[in-house]
Symmetry: C2
Subunit: 244 residues, 2 copies
Amino acid sequence: MSRAGGGGAGSAIGRAGCGSLCEQCRVRGISVCRSIEPAALDELERIMTRIELPAGRVLFDEAAPAEGLFTLVDGVVKLFKMLPDGRRQITGFLLAGDFLGLAFFNSYAYSAEAVTDATLCRFPRDRFLALLERHPALEKELLGRASSELAAAQEQMLLLGRKSAKERVASFLLMLARRQQAAGRTTVALAMSRHDIADYLGLTIETVSRGIRAAAAEGLIRLIDRHHYVVVDDRRLRFAAAAE
Amino acid sequence: MSRAGGGGAGSAIGRAGCGSLCEQCRVRGISVCRSIEPAALDELERIMTRIELPAGRVLFDEAAPAEGLFTLVDGVVKLFKMLPDGRRQITGFLLAGDFLGLAFFNSYAYSAEAVTDATLCRFPRDRFLALLERHPALEKELLGRASSELAAAQEQMLLLGRKSAKERVASFLLMLARRQQAAGRTTVALAMSRHDIADYLGLTIETVSRGIRAAAAEGLIRLIDRHHYVVVDDRRLRFAAAAE
DNA sequence: CGCGTTTTTGACAAATATCAATGCAGGTGG
DNA sequence: CCACCTGCATTGATATTTGTCAAAAACGCG
């Protein structure tokens, strides 16, 4: 499936434009990396703080005052919203290079929590916005990211609103594979729990489990163990994902 | 009368972010109206073309080369994506003042079609992007819009992934009421068909119909006719929408 | 090696889709 | 102006999908 950004599930998953995190930016610990003048990079570096976030730790809560913006340097972070009674919807999994925390109202629209141990850079909101004024290229970069995140969000709405359980699971398996293939891997890692997958796909853990097993039984994938698989039949997997 | 619910009525519906459509911009026929320097407005006006789109007419198709950007001056437009077998997900309804067509890859991520007769302004993509270079305030405006659309998309993912049919319908009725109340109306117009509502909420038309009737039977709303209602019990409607 | 947690599996229940009429309203042509 | 026609909406009966509940199996960890 041709998901904008080559796999941008949910919010800000690695984007074609940014490709793999460029080395220079990785070193600098920031991911806003395309077409940014060195002067802006220097300024960014001056106002940033590095954060180590252990797996399961909350970075910020929905509706909290948005005092920081972040880039993810390493690890996986999930974004989610909750209903008053505890139902949860994960809106995206973020990978290295992704940006989060942009809140044009003054509070976050979602919560963010580390799936694995993660490393981030934090930029104080006011100073970052001030910096934005002086560096239009940075603003353009953010607009591009927001735009592709929006495309990914729309793709996810299609999945949530119109795909069957099996199609959702196949779409997810395909999306993960695409992202990791882009990084040259053939074995795909399922870093997140069945519970997280379920809350991302709008299903229950049981239905996710059955969907994954069915995909394996039908020869679309081969399961190495509960958290690793290989795509065996890409064409049929795409078909199962209703992606063609 | 046209299903537009009266073109004038549609256009009166403001947008939270933009407030009500500013008069100056209405006159100029463009909706990118906050904090834009007059010079930029003049330039925008110079490159724009006005378009009248009859109800049901397609503005552009998903995956088509994105050669234009648009602002909606009057009427209602729906954005949607389709699966190969014809299933459809409407990702949003646009009202006067909304912007569409931003595509940072070179093709549209979704199709756009008029729900009611609509008036738009078209800006050629290349010239608009060039103009963006010279007017950072315009870029900031777009970033703000993209950001709030993203928040709305995440809210919709929560609805599609985790809310029951009745909650979805209640959320929809509440959302429409909020948008129209902001414009000082008390009777809410349901400009779109049950089919469109169903494709927006990820349901079938029958389930939407039952949901609306149930909301009326429970005294949350009072139906004037099939395309108009009044919110009777806001608090319970919010509760039914799982919004509190 | 045993224990708690996650995942899988199975039986059953509930929500929603599907199928099938029927009703309603607006537009059209007589 | 009225009656019919057509498409949209509603309603009801039934089917299907997916969720719920319960338990067993697998895994990770001390």
